[in-house]
């Protein structure tokens, strides 16, 4: 079938069958979607929209972070001829309300992470899309016919808050852009994209979703783009391509440089390597900098930069390391790129050559004009603006540029005074100035782009604190618009245009001149000094400063969180959560109190790092050689020995046989032989895929004498080999363990856990810890209740020699819980199910049947 629209493209997805399209990483689990599954789900989305009365051509707003569900819903809209209107998650509800007024959307795809924006239309949570689609009926649904010039989507990436402007893009626009991009994409046998930029923008949609689909590639989603999630995804998913904005490349560069500085002599060696790099081939550079590449997953090679102009030194830095940095130029109105650098022909400082199916020329006044099948038909319901944006069929970009003799475009600035931040967000100076005007004491202001950030020049009344003014104004601005720097204007008034408007251009020129003056003064001063500048703040102290909203100068070692930094409970929890997400260290939240000092906190983070390194999870125990050894040892040694004194009877075998998908097995704990007995009772297929949780503190025990620690370590290796155990801490820091268990389940493993936490000393079953409820809720897996009887008589806690006896292992009906179930309720129900498995066979049957009906 010829692909003439994006609906056709979605229909064709099934051709790639079981190839992986999406890898969706969540906090504790990772889910994969094949091309086939995405195709089916997209069809269900189209049917769902139809069922909800959303007809062809009607609009649906998207307001949620990137996820596989976001992409599936988007593709479903395209398939069904419904028009998505994706909105940046950072925009405020009043912006959405204005968009809704213009588009009259029928439905909102949204997220649990945002409050209801008050649009007065039904909302669907993308987190629950899977559940919603299960209830969708497919029988009466036939996707409508979509043609090339149908509207594919409307993008509100720019425009002032008061007057958002929606760029219309048709199926023809987007497909022709894909066609134009094809020759620019370097050949690779397999592409794995990491998606970190918002899908609400054309750049990520095109380069990070539609182009990968055309290429049969895989796309990895990481949920809210936080540093630790990004770094973990790089290390674990090994992507080779990523769409980036200059800000991200700068952040990653700074982090790399900071890590290098951490090694003695590192900075000098790195400097030498950087000088050597450009003389080597791409492969040579990647080899030379392999430690850096390893930290980025080892495969990352293509960094496609867009959204804002990339500083040449940042581009050269990454190129020297052996990355391919591709920079292009385009706007939402041109369906993303109009020009792009090709691999091997890139010129730093230039945005490349015109794509093959487009035309770009320079107007007499220097403005860049674009014409082609990728150019928008105009702005949604805004004929005047559309008319003003075109001249003889050419789209006027508002950017000033020039071509060199080889056809490479370079940009020289902008006609319009839009501020483009280094995060690639367009900010209108009018929005910022309007917010400042509402703050008492502000006489006038000018917002300009300065160091690719929003900078405000202020004229204030006597005695007004500029810091306070900026804070007040920022409260009214959304996170992308916030003022990041300010200057108190030294003269009585701003320079003005003949019509008495503030001349932002002259304000900016003044800023540039005064900075040059300052730099000159500073370098003159530096000559007389020996020491470097002020010590850089550690990542933790800048985190503390940010959460406490205190100046970094106050965040000193002796400062107490609650007292000196005035942090409340909520800020302290926020801090613990941020430390987890940005530094990758899980702190026990009840140990971070008002009296905790910054120095103590540094110590806790450092200890957490050491522990994380030491307590590495035994992934090796799951490798196939170890698995083979385990199987052999179990069959030839463990089970026969166990059989010498245990007569094992198994009941409810049918409840575990042929059980599909990963699950937890929750058992009562009567003896150290419980795990071997349960493993022995399991069907062989199930046993091979089952690991056992063990008490982490037992194996670590740093307070014990040295010989005992070594002995316990050996025990640990033996148990990991024999039972595939993994450490599950009883203390409150159990997130890493749950994450590990989640990663096991993602690989198709099951886990056996003992929710009482310790062996019984009386033979009676104890209460289940709430932790099991937390684990089941976070991992979203079914639970098989297991009851062991008789082993307490064979080998109770405290005894060394077993006595022969009859042992029964009973498996109950698997239990599943809705995501809204409380932790205590889940634990209670599992505990009851295990209790219910006690006693006569008759009772077992009754209970399992009753549960079967309940499920």
């Amino acid at each position: 079938m010829e692909v003439r629209t994006l609906s056709d493209l979605v229909s064709e997805l099934a051709n790639l069958g079981n190839r992986k399209l999406f890898i969706n990483r969540t906090q504790f689990r990772t889910y994969t979607w094949s091309y086939q599954q995405v195709r089916k789900a997209a069809n269900r989305v189209a049917a769902l929209l139809h069922e909800r009365g959303v007809t062809q051509g009607e609009r649906v707003i998207f307001w949620a972070p990137n996820s596989a569900e976001w992409a599936v819903a988007f593709l479903g809209c395209l398939l069904g001829g419904v028009v998505p209107v994706p909105i940046d998650l950072r925009f405020r509800p009043d912006f959405l309300q204005e968009v809704q007024r213009q588009t009259n959307a029928r439905l909102l795809f949204t997220t649990r992470l945002k409050p209801d924006p008050g649009l007065g239309i039904p909302g669907l949570l993308l987190e629950e899309l899977g559940e919603t689609l299960k209830e969708t009926r497919l029988d009466q649904f036939q996707p409508p016919r979509v043609v090339e010039d149908d509207l594919a989507e409307i993008l509100y990436t720019s425009g002032t808050t008061a007057q958002p402007k929606g760029v219309m893009l048709t199926h023809r626009n987007l497909l022709s852009e894909l066609d134009g991009m094809q020759p620019v994409v370097p050949p690779e046998p397999e592409y794995r994209f990491l998606s970190v930029l918002p899908l609400s923008h054309i750049f990520e949609q095109m380069g990070g979703l539609l182009l990968p689909i055309v290429r049969g590639a895989t796309v990895v989603y990481i949920g809210p783009p936080r540093p630790s999630a990004l770094l973990q995804a790089l290390e674990e998913e090994h992507p080779n391509a990523m769409m980036v904005v200059p800000r991200l490349l700068e952040l990653l560069r700074d982090r790399t440089v900071a890590e290098v500085k951490g090694y003695p002599g590192g900075q000098r060696i790195f400097g030498l390597m950087m000088r050597l790099g450009p003389h080597l081939s791409l492969q040579g550079r990647r080899l030379l900098f392999s430690p850096v590449h390893r930290r980025l997953g080892g495969s990352l090679k293509y960094l496609v930069s867009g959204g804002a102009s990339l500083a040449p030194e940042v581009e050269r830095f990454w190129e020297a390391l052996g990355m391919v940095v591709l920079q292009g130029y385009g706007l939402t109105e041109t369906s993303s790129a109009a020009t792009c650098n090709r691999m091997g022909e890139e010129r730093p400082g230039s945005v490349g050559k015109t794509l093959h199916n487009q035309e770009v020329r320079i107007a007499p006044d220097g403005e860049v004009l674009v014409r082609g099948p990728n150019v928008t038909p105009g702005y949604y319901q805004n004929r005047d603006l559309t008319k003003a944006s075109f001249e003889d069929g050419w789209f006027k970009t508002g950017d000033i540029g020039q071509f060199d003799q080889d056809g490479y475009l370079s940009l020289r600035g902008r006609k319009k005074e839009i501020i483009v931040t280094s995060a690639g967000i367009n900010v209108y100076p009018e929005d910022v100035e309007a917010a400042l005007a509402r703050v008492p004491g502000v006489r006038d202001s000018a917002a300009v782009e300065w160091h690719r950030q929003v900078h405000a020049a202020l004229l204030l009344e006597e005695g007004i604190d500029p810091e306070q003014v900026v804070r007040e104004a920022n409260k009214q601005l959304d996170s992308s618009q916030k003022i990041r720097g300010h200057t108190l204007w030294p003269q009585p008034d701003f320079p003005r245009t003949p019509t008495m408007k503030v001349s932002r251009r002259l304000v900016l020129e003044y800023l540039k001149e005064s900075e040059q003056g300052k730099q000159a003064a500073a370098s003159a001063k530096r000559k007389g000094e020996v020491t470097a500048g002020p010590g850089e703040a550690s990542p933790l102290s800048s985190l503390v400063a940010r959460v406490a909203q205190a100046p970094t100068s106050k965040v000193v070692g002796t400062a107490q969180l609650g007292i000196d930094l005035e942090m409340g409970s909520i800020e302290m929890l926020e801090l613990v959560s941020q430390v987890e997400q940005e530094l990758g260290v899980d702190l026990p939240e009840d140990e971070v109190t008002a009296e905790t000092t910054v120095a103590e906190l540094e110590g806790m983070v450092e200890r957490g790092r050491v522990e994380a390194r030491r307590g590495a999870f035994p992934y090796w125990a799951l490798s196939s050689p170890v698995q083979a050894v385990r199987g052999t040892l179990q069959r030839t040694l463990l089970f026969p020995t166990l059989g010498l004194f245990c007569r094992l009877e198994v009941e409810g075998y049918e409840n575990v046989q042929g059980l599909r998908g990963p699950h937890l097995l929750a058992a009562n704990h009567t003896s150290m032989l419980d795990a071997p007995a349960i493993l022995m009772a399991l069907p062989e297929k199930e046993r091979e895929r089952t690991t056992t949780a063990a008490w982490a503190e037992y194996f670590e025990a740093p307070e014990r004498p040295r010989w005992e620690r070594i002995f316990r370590r050996l025990e640990y290796y033996l148990a990991a080999t024999l039972f595939g155990i993994f450490p599950l801490p009883q203390t409150r820091v159990f997130r890493p363990s749950i994450r590990y268990t989640g990663s096991l389940m993602d690989r198709g493993w099951n886990a056996l856990i003992f929710p009482e936490g310790a062996r019984t000393h009386t033979g009676e079953m104890g209460a289940f810890k709430e932790g099991v409820g937390v684990m089941v809720s976070w991992l979203k897996v079914p639970v098989v209740p297991v009851r062991v009887e008789g082993l307490f008589q064979v080998l109770p806690a405290g005894k060394l020699l077993p006595r022969p006896g009859r042992v029964t292992v009973r498996f109950g009906w698997p239990l599943s819980f809705p995501p809204t179930a409380s932790y205590s309720e889940i634990s209670r129900q599992i505990e009851e199910a295990v209790r219910g498995l006690q006693g006569s066979e008759e009772r077992v049957r009754r209970v399992t049947e009753a549960e079967g009906r309940a499920a």
């Binding site: 649990r112 945002k114 959560s577 997400q581 109190t593 976070w778 409380s822 205590s824």
Partner: protein, 124 residues
Amino acid sequence: MKMRARIGVDLVQISKMAELMEDEAFLRRVFHPPELLDRRPERLAGVFAAKEALFKALGTTRLWLEAEVGWDAAGRPELRVAGEAVPAGLLSLDLSITHEGEYAVAAVVVLLSEEETNGSQNPI
């Protein structure tokens, strides 16, 4: 029987909670799944304030997931405690939550039997 009442109150800025709503990891540290069914910021701020008020009344460390706020059929909030957060000699708990404009406020009263608390590790 000698009894002793302890009271705790707390005030939470609703806009602060609205900001933190995007941090799922934060929410998981504080709230139980049923508490997250209704995610209006004023509601979450109220639940947070209730837990903080409880910990203040008890004078114990903050074990957020060991306290859970629910609503009865009449719409009255209820507070449940579990695990280490249960104080010795606990007789009853009462909770009231309100919000207006920028803030949510909660007050918790804890009634303890004094005999049993003597010598316990709780400073009550």
